[in-house]
């Protein structure tokens, strides 16, 4: 591993560690109640008590930003886990088995990716209406095609190699070849994709929440904080900046991490 990659890895690891531990700590402790409304305390600038100031309801921005980290990371990781799991299974099936299964899966993937990801997610949110986390299946569907494609091309590349043929000859079942022999060799391409997928999922979740379709207020989420703070951007930019800062750090962290893991 060369120096540049080590540098990226360190930066990424530190940033993600910071954000994740903030989210974890917020489960047990936040400096203030992120839901406590008090009009007398609104638009306070950053201070020792309110590190990131307060919003238009007088709620503590720092507490809301770290509580929001919890929801953003949760939504992002479940989304990516779901789309990665289904993507890998379908991708292996399509790439290794080929034939009619390949045709069907490929056409479905084409159909899915012919819509812009955000549009797919918007429709899905409406279909899965209700529920705090309707956004998770919605985003998982939107992210599915990239994982299917990635796995499929990897499987097609590997399936004619000698060791797979050898496994065949020695009588291994298709499922065993797919998951025991193919999958481990695909991991080097999958892991960076997962890490970058996490940062994309965080951005997508924020975008949906900004539009009012993601996590519903008063539950804090970075996208919603950007939206609510936007009105007061000139007067009290703290809310927007605190959510924006958290997003920049998280996305930067995942990108640095993903980059260092790439070949």
């Amino acid at each position: 591993m060369n120096n540049d990659r080590r540098f990226s890895l360190r930066v990424g690891a530190v940033l993600i560690f910071l954000v994740c531990s903030a989210a974890l700590i917020s489960l047990f402790y936040t400096p203030c109640d992120p839901y406590a409304i008090d009009a007398a305390q609104r638009f306070l600038p950053p201070s020792l008590h309110h590190w990131f100031g307060t919003d238009n309801f007088g709620r503590d921005n720092f507490s809301r930003a770290v509580t929001g980290a919890r929801y953003s990371l949760f939504v992002a990781s479940v989304t990516v886990a779901l789309s990665c799991f289904f993507g890998v299974v379908l991708g292996l099936l399509s790439g290794f088995a080929g034939g009619i299964a390949d045709e069907i899966i490929l056409r479905l993937t084409d159909a899915l990716s012919s819509f812009p990801a955000v549009l797919t997610a918007l429709v899905a949110v409406t279909v899965f209406s209700g529920g705090k986390f309707a956004i998770i299946p919605a985003l998982a569907i939107a992210f599915l095609p990239s994982f299917i494609r990635l796995t499929r091309s990897g499987a097609m590349r590997l399936k004619n190699l000698d060791y797979i043929q050898a496994a065949y000859v020695s009588g291994a079942s298709t499922a065993r070849i797919m998951f025991r022999h193919l999958l481990p060799n695909l991991l080097p391409t999958l892991i960076p994709a997962v890490v970058v997928g996490l940062s994309n999922a965080i951005l997508a979740e924020s975008g949906m929440s900004y539009l009012g379709l993601g996590i519903q207020p008063p539950t804090p989420s970075w996208g919603r904080m950007l939206f609510e703070g936007q009105t007061y951007l000139f007067h009290a930019p703290w809310e927007t900046l605190s959510a924006g800062l958290m997003m920049v750090l998280t996305v930067l962290g995942f990108h640095a991490l993903g980059e260092s893991l790439e070949k």
Partner: protein, 521 residues
């Protein structure tokens, strides 16, 4: 690789650097309030100002219908106010002035009203308004020509009689001394079926074009019967999705005026005049009376006790609102029952007690459906969620777009609770109370009370004004006692106008009158 990474950091820093100076040079919150005392200029006083020009009015809505008989939303009616007129129309003081009719008489027993059509008045398509058109319009609206009743208020009409080419008599099924306000219902050309795509009326502006989600453009009606109106050549209603977009429009200069929420008003800065008036609508937490658990009056009372309208007013509206307590707007002073304002003061203990009496000792969960384009309603719902939590009720917010709200909540009544402002179509207590009649088509909270129905009907038939007022107050008391819904506030309506425009006319109704606005400089 490292270069790549550094480039990314650099671009992030750059993005932040672009944002920061913006924040630094923005005007302080106080700067804008200096102009808030600017009084609206009376339009009649100026006669020397330049006419003509274009005006862009920003709105945070999408029209539901352009046909005046189908339009259900307050904002749509506010736009259509500029295109259509009735036999009479409201003026800025809340009186009814003759419009399509030149004069009118009521029969002694109040069972018929005679109207004389204004000489020379014509539709925007150039055709003169005839007695046939008036009969057609009223018959269509009231469902007398075989169709559905489109304007529920007109259902009391028995028939419309054409006396001669310019005289029309409206006969009622029973005596009604207060029927005139309903005759503000639009007069449209007979047999014209394209109203929903190209509306034609007699108002000061005629329809030019409509691009959904973008804009609705009106141009001057050169043959308008009030000779000095309208002053502008063209009015564009810019249709925006939320208050942030509207704020950007105002600051960026793409709109000249708008009706805005209080939180936006504190941010707009100089170069604008702020005109504060009542919005003439009552914001409420609508409770679906036929849905569990809100079918139980104790639960509805508990929710009323859990909420604190004063906190909502100070938090969401920066104190610029009048507390309500009944669906009648506080501006309708004669009928507004101010003794009900504090019928339910916040009392968490009492709320909990009522809930356990109703069989919910551990509270319950409810979803508040809110149209996402109205930031003020979403913010109100956020405060409500925190207040309800103290009483043990777990409320969640579900944002939907306005079209979904209209069909799902207002029309199909498929919801538990919702936050919305409800206005009246006319300056009569009936337009605020009528929707609570058990069989009213717009009774979207599904309230049913034979007691209310009978008091309301009694009030309608009462010739003596004092007794009538008393009965309407009694009807409000029944609504309050039954906690039909929670009536929060009449939010102050802030209209902003770029400094170079003048002549804004506030109305005691939820309408925007573009005809008196003119460019002063």
């Amino acid at each position: 690789m490292k270069k790549n990474f550094i480039r990314k950091i650099a671009s992030a820093v750059l993005a932040a650097a672009v944002l920061l100076p913006l924040a630094a040079c923005g005007p302080g919150g106080e700067a804008s309030s200096s102009s808030s005392s600017a009084a609206p200029t009376s339009s009649s006083a100026q006669s020397s100002q330049a006419s003509g020009g274009e005006f862009v009015f920003g709105m945070q809505t999408q029209p539901d219908h352009l046909d005046p008989f189908l339009a259900a939303t307050a904002d749509t009616r506010s736009i259509l106010f500029n295109i259509f007129e009735g036999l009479v129309k409201p003026d800025k003081d809340g009186n009814l002035i003759p419009a399509v009719a030149q004069s009118y008489e009521m029969s002694k027993d109040a069972t018929s009203y005679t109207f004389h059509i204004r000489k020379g008045i014509q539709f925007q398509n150039g055709n003169p308004v005839t007695a046939d058109d008036v009969k057609y319009s009223l018959d269509t609206a009231a469902g007398l020509s075989g169709g559905k009743v489109l304007v529920a208020d007109l259902a009391k009409m028995k028939s419309v009689e054409i006396k001669d080419a310019s005289t029309v008599v409206v006969h009622l099924k029973q005596a009604d001394y207060e029927f005139l306000p309903y005759l503000t219902s639009a007069i449209v050309p007979k047999g014209y079926t394209e109203q929903d795509t190209h509306p034609i009326g007699t108002g000061p502006f005629e329809f030019e074009s409509y691009s959904p989600q973008q804009s609705l453009v009106l141009k001057k009606n050169p043959d308008y019967w009030q000779k000095d109106l309208p002053k502008l050549d063209k009015v564009t209603f810019k249709l925006e999705s939320d208050s942030n977009a509207l704020l950007m429009d105002l600051q960026g200069g793409s709109v000249d005026g708008a009706s805005i929420a209080n939180n936006v008003a504190s941010q707009i800065g100089s170069g604008f005049q702020l005109i504060q008036a009542n919005s003439n609508s009552v914001q409420m937490l609508g409770l679906n009376n036929s849905r569990k658990p809100f079918d139980d009056v104790k639960v509805r009372r508990a929710v009323s006790c859990a909420l604190n309208p004063d906190e909502i007013i100070s938090t969401v509206n920066f104190g610029k609102a009048v507390r309500a307590g009944t669906p009648v707007i506080p501006g309708l002073k004669k009928y507004f029952d101010d003794s009900l304002t504090h019928a339910y003061d916040q009392n968490t203990q009492k709320a909990k007690q009522l809930l356990s009496e109703a069989g919910y000792p551990n509270g319950f969960s409810m979803a508040i459906t809110v149209p996402s384009n109205y930031t003020v309603h979403v913010d109100t719902a956020q405060v409500m969620v925190s207040e309800l939590k103290k009483a043990g009720v777990t409320a969640t917010i579900k944002q939907v777009d306005f079209a979904t709200w209209l069909s799902g909540v207002y029309t199909q009544r498929n919801y538990e609770a919702t936050v919305i402002s409800v206005d009246g179509t006319t300056l009569s207590p009936r337009s605020y109370l009528g929707r609570y009649l058990s069989d009213a088509s717009n009774n979207f909270v599904n309230y049913k009370s034979p007691e209310f129905d009978s008091v309301y009907k009694q009030a309608e038939n009462e010739p003596d004004e004092d007794k009538r007022v008393e009965l309407y107050k009694q009807a409000q008391e029944i609504l309050s006692k039954d906690a039909a819904s929670v009536y929060i506030q009449d939010i102050a309506n802030l209209n902003v106008l770029r400094d170079e425009f003048s002549g804004f006319t506030p109305y005691p109704l939820y309408v925007f009158d573009a005809s008196t606005i003119y460019r002063a400089k």
